[in-house]
């Protein structure tokens, strides 16, 4: 896992509005990098381009030399997301939401469920495993989303405002687990406007109006 996630000259234009301007940045394995900036500055868009959810209007986003954009908006298997609006499957329980991420990668259902259970415990929500996610609070859903991203052991973990709904204790817990992911060699990128979180990261970039501050 010594490969970098690299964005080179990335611009993104949507509905005639330029959301990213010529962004070039590299993210390194084993590091937690924060993308800081005010609301609407382009953090989520940058993460989406970096994770292959959006095709850049110009420039490239690549990981290990391979382009992140696969042509249909599906992320590469090496990438895991914690989305700002969680992106959980509403018809599944908390455990099933974590388990499907493993099943999608070919893990047998029984083993996937077992690992999902353990992952929920890691985020202190093992008791919520059988609850349908729509019955959970925002903070609980956010931790389920984190557990789902962490369980697959992805090489690139992109987290968009992963602690926005969490209290102080759980913010610390999530940050700790993200750090653990980086420690095992993953590239971890957080989009946040929480300065405490920014300070806890190894490195940070500030983005404003779609431009990375030097």
């Amino acid at each position: 896992m010594s490969e970098r996630l690299e964005l080179t000259g990335v611009s993104y234009v949507a509905a005639g509005r330029s959301l990213l301007h010529d962004v070039s940045v590299s993210f390194h394995p084993g590091e937690v990098t924060a993308l800081a900036g005010p609301s609407g500055s382009g953090k989520t868009t940058l993460l989406s381009v970096a994770g292959g959810l959006l095709e850049p209007s110009s420039g490239t986003a690549s990981y290990a030399g391979r382009p992140m954009w696969r042509g249909n908006g599906d992320p590469r298997p090496e990438v895991a997301f914690v989305l700002q609006v969680y992106g959980l499957v509403p018809i599944l329980s908390a455990r099933e939401n974590v388990s499907v991420a493993l099943r999608a990668r070919g893990v047998r259902p029984a083993e996937a469920d077992e690992r999902a259970e353990a992952e929920l415990a890691r985020f202190h929500i093992a008791d919520l495993g059988d609850r349908q996610v729509e019955e959970l609070s925002g903070g609980q859903m956010q931790r389920v989303a984190c557990a789902r991203a962490c369980v697959v052991g992805a090489e690139v973990l992109l987290a968009d405002e992963p602690t926005s709904e969490l209290d102080q204790v759980n913010r610390g817990l999530v940050m700790e687990e993200l750090r653990a992911e980086a420690d095992r060699g993953a590239i971890v990128v957080l989009a946040t406007h929480d300065l405490e979180l920014v300070e806890a990261c190894d490195r940070h970039h500030v983005i404003d109006e779609g431009r990375l501050d030097p």
Binding site: T44, T45, L47, S48, L53, L54, N72, G73, D74, P75, P77, A80, F81, L83, Q84, V85, G87, L88, V89, P90, I91, L92, E96, V100, A101, R103, A104, R105, P109, A110, D113, Q132, E134, E135, G138, R148, V152, D160
Partner: protein, 715 residues
């Protein structure tokens, strides 16, 4: 007003289905009400009204969901609930009125009639629509405000009023089925509503059963394939997924029951008309005796290819005797009666012809020899007969024996050219009445009297000559075919007299007589019969391909089978079954349109779900089978439910719905639902489920891109 118009335009995507539904409902109700009024039973539109009222709930929910945020804002600003609901109902009311006006125009164009009926339908639909929207909005007002202002909509479980409504429908369906089997049966409007109530109840039960099974399957599908794993959870956990099923099942049951009624009605009218007509053409003869009709047909059509004489006698104790020229039955009546309850008569009629036929000619002859010690001066043969003019006449042949005892006499016979019936024969002798007379020829208008009147005429004792001899055949029981309900011991002749009958076969129904009657041979019955009674109807039945010249030679206008068909159709009120069918089809159409309203929301929910699965690594081609499994489960459930529900509704209700006026002597309508019709109803339901629910699940790959999830507020 401007604000309402602007708002309605902004929310046109949600209001359009409501307007389209209002148009369909008003048009259907206007047309069906006009037809139901024509057939004298306005309550026939009841199922459409009921299904329409239920269908309105889906777009009403969609409208209420769309205004969720405004409702929350209004509450936060402290607006009164009534004012808030009234304000939010204005736009749906506008949509309902606009759609209703279009429906009214279509409805009155299709079924021009009293415009006030259409206007009433429009106002009724608008009121019901507003009530539905208002009720859903009022329900939303009871939700916790905290939930309402939350950006994430919580799953909404079935509420107590909805469950209660389901139980009420169940109870109403049970009561309707119970009332239908009471004597006297429940009110007609309840019987008309019964199929819709049964359909709705069955649909509700199906939804409950499917939900229970899906919840049960959740724990047993942990390790199943992704298709089954996801489909089961979608059915068990997404509120509203199964709701369309109930409506599809209800509408399909109503339509299938109506189609069965219409099919049974059509078959009944067809069979009753065939039985009533007896042949493709009927010619009623007035002032013509039965014997004359018989000989007329034989004269015009000597080979019996097209014409057959028949007489209908007045009912006695509810039973009608019919006499036909049985040797021609197969040829003339057979084709029309094939496939009816009278079809087995074909095989039995041959047993009815036993005796001699009526006479036709113009000469009477007597030849014989007298033997004995003293010769009579003359021998007289007297024949009583009914002329071809249908009056009684007598002819007496008088012969003087020669020296050798031989006697011969011949005389012209009037009134037998077109057929006459010898009714009695007497022999007498003048002078010494000693000895015997050996008769070698005793012929009357071509009829051998010795055969007809028996062996007494072969060798006659002149001491006690026979007087008032009746034809032999009249002394035996008349062979007849009877209907299943009758065990005739006596049968009427064309002169109105009765004689003993012997039953040679039993059938369910007889031509011209229906289910209470007897059928005998006209020729046999005519022998010895007095003039045809004035109350007897004399007719000639003819094949459809009878040459025009033959029909022109008959003294009367032919009545076609189609005319009889129309008469039966009108008298039985069969139009009611067709109206019921139209109501059923309209209910199906309205249900389909109503369900389209909820598809947008289903598609959005599925797009979110698919995007969430794609973001964790499931490609769309691995997800599509789950939709197929879900649709298959719903489709098969709908197919089975509609098949079973329709069968139950038909078996329990159809014969009690009194859609047809069936006379006592008519065959009973075959109310059993044909398997193909039940299967068709089920297949229609399956296709509707596949089309409607499938459309709600048709999410293209580009519409479920994981990038959707990055946008705040996407649920």
């Amino acid at each position: 007003m401007t604000r309402t118009l602007r708002g309605a335009w902004t929310r046109r995507r949600v209001l359009a289905p409501l307007a389209v539904l209002a148009a369909a409902l008003v048009a259907s109700l206007t047309v069906c009400t006009a037809l139901a009024g024509d057939s004298g039973d306005a309550a026939l539109v009841g199922p459409l009204v009921l299904v329409g009222a239920v269908v309105l709930a889906a777009p009403a929910r969609a409208v209420a969901d769309e205004r969720r945020g405004e409702l929350a804002l209004g509450r936060l600003r402290g607006r009164g609930r009534l004012r808030l609901v009234a304000q939010l109902v204005a736009e749906p009311l506008l949509a309902l009125l606009l759609g209703g006006l279009v429906g009214l125009a279509v409805g009155t164009a299709v079924a021009p009639g009293d415009a006030s009926t259409g206007v009433l339908c429009l106002l009724g639909v608008a009121a019901a629509g507003c009530l539905a929207v208002g009720a859903v909005l009022a329900g939303r007002l009871r939700e916790p405000l905290a939930d309402q202002v939350a950006p994430l909509a919580r799953p909404r479980r079935s509420s107590a009023p909805v469950t209660f409504a389901g139980l009420v429908v169940l109870a109403a369906a049970g009561y309707a089925a119970f009332a239908a089997h009471q004597r006297p049966a429940g009110p007609p409007w309840l019987l008309d509503l019964a199929p819709a109530l049964c359909g709705l109840a069955l649909g509700q039960v199906l939804v409950w059963v499917m939900q229970a099974l899906a919840r049960l399957a959740v724990s047993r599908s942990e390790f199943a394939s992704p298709a089954v794993f996801l489909a089961v959870r979608r059915l068990a956990r997404r509120p509203g997924t199964l709701a369309p099923l109930a409506l599809v099942v209800a509408a399909a049951v109503v339509a299938t029951v109506a189609a069965t009624a219409a099919s049974a009605g059509h078959r009944w009218v067809d069979q009753t008309a065939r039985l009533g007509a007896g042949a493709a053409l009927q010619v009623h003869l007035h002032d013509v005796g039965a014997a004359q009709a018989l000989t007329l047909t034989h004269r015009l059509d000597p080979r019996g290819r097209w014409l057959m004489a028949a007489v209908l006698l007045p009912r006695q104790g509810g039973t009608r005797s019919v006499l036909v020229d049985t040797p021609r039955y197969d040829r003339v009546a057979g084709p029309v009666l094939s496939g009816t309850a009278a079809a087995p008569t074909d095989r039995l009629v041959d047993r009815l012809t036993t005796g001699p036929r009526p006479a036709r000619g113009d000469l009477a002859r007597l030849t014989g020899r007298v033997s004995g010690p003293l010769m009579p001066t003359a021998v007289q043969l007297r024949v009583d007969y009914v002329t071809d003019g249908n009056y009684v006449a007598t002819r007496t042949l008088s012969a003087r024996p020669g020296p050798d005892g031989v006697l011969q006499a011949r005389q012209a016979v009037p009134g037998c050219t077109h057929g006459c019936v010898p009714t009695a024969v007497s022999l007498d002798a003048r002078g010494p009445r000693v000895g015997t007379l050996s008769v070698s020829v005793a012929e009357f208008a071509g009829v051998d009297l010795r055969t007809t009147f028996g062996p007494q005429l072969h060798r006659v004792s002149l001491v006690h000559p026979p007087t008032g001899l009746r034809p032999v055949s009249t002394q035996r029981p008349a062979p007849v075919i009877v209907t299943g309900r009758d065990r005739a011991s006596r049968v009427q002749g064309p002169d109105g007299s009765t004689r003993p009958a012997s039953v040679h076969g039993t059938v369910a129904a007889l031509p011209l007589a229906g289910t209470h009657g007897t059928l005998g041979d006209l020729g046999t019955a005519l022998v010895g019969a007095l003039p045809t009674s004035p109350s007897t109807q004399v007719l000639v039945l003819a094949r459809g391909d009878t040459p025009a010249r033959l029909l022109a030679a008959l003294p009367g206008d032919p009545v076609t089978l189609a005319q009889v068909h129309r008469r039966v159709d009108v008298r039985s009120g069969a139009a009611r079954t067709r109206t019921a069918l139209l109501v059923g089809l309209c209910a199906l159409l309205v249900a389909a349109i109503g369900l389209l309203a909820g598809l947008d929301r289903q598609r959005r929910e599925l797009a979110h779900e698919v995007a969430a699965l794609r973001v964790v690594g499931y490609p769309t081609d691995r997800l599509r089978p789950s939709v197929v499994v879900e649709l298959l489960a719903c489709g098969v459930a709908a197919l089975l439910a509609v098949g079973l529900g329709s069968w139950l509704a038909v078996a329990l209700l159809l014969d009690r719905m009194r859609l047809l006026t069936v006379p006592a002597d008519a065959v009973a309508p075959d109310d059993a639902a044909p398997a193909w019709l039940l299967a068709s109803g089920g297949v229609v339901a399956l296709l509707l489920v596949a089309a409607l629910m499938g459309r709600g699940r048709a999410v293209p790959e580009r519409s479920s891109r994981p990038a959707l999830l990055r946008e705040e507020g996407v649920r």
